[in-house]
Point group: C2
Chain length 232, copies 2
DNA sequence: TCTATATAACTGACCAGTCAGTTACTAACA
DNA sequence: TGTTAGTAACTGACTGGTCAGTTATATAGA
């Protein structure tokens, strides 16, 4: 099979070489291909032969850049999630003013990622393999969950400190805020299209969630702070 | 390897037979063994050899009672979930009076199942294999999710109809009510004990969730219907 | 005796990871 | 400006192992 990344500056003479040395481009091409295949098949069922084919290299080449299937998977997770996580951390760290609108922006941002990108498959993949690859679960917990929880947690503490939010148990609240995101990601990659159901409307779900959170998190201010259909 | 279900009424004479015909008992013993193994390894990584060993039979015997690994898995799901689902359906159908306490009972019941039984692994297993076995996902959606959602949905409609609950979009609300349960189940079977974290306190999480739902679902009644730390 | 029930050896297919060999590129030297 | 070692990048056939599902054979029980 010819490379899917052929000579970008074809030699004028004779036939093009069967392959080219492209040390710098390979890793990210391999990771992109692996992302596709893992997303379609899950970790265990993904075939490295197939990853290699989609990356336009041979299986042996994979092992020049990644020592094992598991490390390749970690690289996929890092590439898919870390940039977004860093963006979220920066957003919360830098923003001033009231916390609730910031939380709204955060939730909408993640919801959009879940609804529109392949990133949504990652939680499912990790959940699936956690039993057989505990080290993978630990990696994901340490690199993603802990940091993600940290972002929301910081936001809640700030809101409580300023009096904007009600006092509340922070750890359970973080989990309850995040749960619908997890559910959306899992749903979209496991049940969408099954049984003739319409696909899950992630943004709509998120708007209802945000409305609910307004009632739950915000300290009562006397005026109708909640959604519009409430008391007279 | 000797059977773990040896002759329950050992023959008085000579050596006991190498095996016994136990047509009626086999299926449930096999399903119980399969539940264990699937829970520990996931669907794909579970070995039928091991299921057979734990059930005290040979692999061939499995195929006398279940035509394939997939059908065996379905049997496991049915055995683990259907009784509880039916109990929940009966509870909602038969109970009168206000809806919110009923919802509380329902949530606490499921939370207890998730926190204390092996049932909690089922969602993880289905999620994990949904990509590779779409028919399994469809089965689970049809037999479990649809009915589970139906129970909560019925409850919400009733509460809205009676004026106990605020008007609300029912489908998203059902998902938001269920999401923390799903998260708890997944967490307990994927991340508990990882990274030195204390295990998830499912009942505590559920109590916070229920408090939140009180604020979200119940129509404002003027008095302090919400949790105890609110307005004077 | 007859046969439903059970066994255990077998088959065929799959795949992660390895490694001996091949090729594209580089730079030292003519 | 060739030419030619030298080497890093790459290939693909191979190994060793796994496991779902099948089948020839044996025996419990009627």
């Amino acid at each position: 099979m010819p490379s899917r990344h052929p000579n970008p500056d074809p030699a004028p003479d004779g036939d093009p070489p069967r392959w080219r040395r492209r040390k710098d481009a390979r890793p990210q091409e391999i990771v992109a291909a692996a992302m596709e295949v893992f997303a379609e098949r899950g970790f265990a069922a993904a075939r490295l032969e197939e990853v290699a084919a989609r990356a336009g290299v041979s299986k042996g080449t994979l092992y020049l850049y990644f020592p094992s299937k598991e490390e390749l998977f970690k690289a996929v997770i890092r590439a898919a999630i870390l940039p977004n996580l860093e963006q979220a951390e920066a957003m919360v760290a830098s923003a001033g003013g009231p916390c609730f609108p910031l939380l709204e922006r955060l939730l909408r941002m993640v919801a959009r990622l879940i609804a529109t990108t392949r990133m949504a498959v990652i939680p499912r993949l990790v959940i699936a393999e956690a039993g057989n690859f505990p080290e993978l679960a630990a990696f994901y917990h340490h690199e993603v969950i802990r940091r993600g929880f940290g972002v929301v947690s910081a936001l809640l503490w700030r809101g409580i400190g300023s009096g904007e939010f009600r006092p509340m148990p922070v750890d359970p609240s973080v989990r309850l805020i995040v749960a619908p995101l997890l559910m959306s990601a899992v749903w979209r990659t496991s049940f969408d299209g099954v049984d003739g159901e319409p696909p899950l409307d992630v943004p709509a779900l998120m708007e209802v969630h945000i409305d609910n959170l307004r009632r739950v998190l915000l300290r009562d201010t006397g005026d109708g702070a909640g959604a519009g259909d409430g008391a007279p």
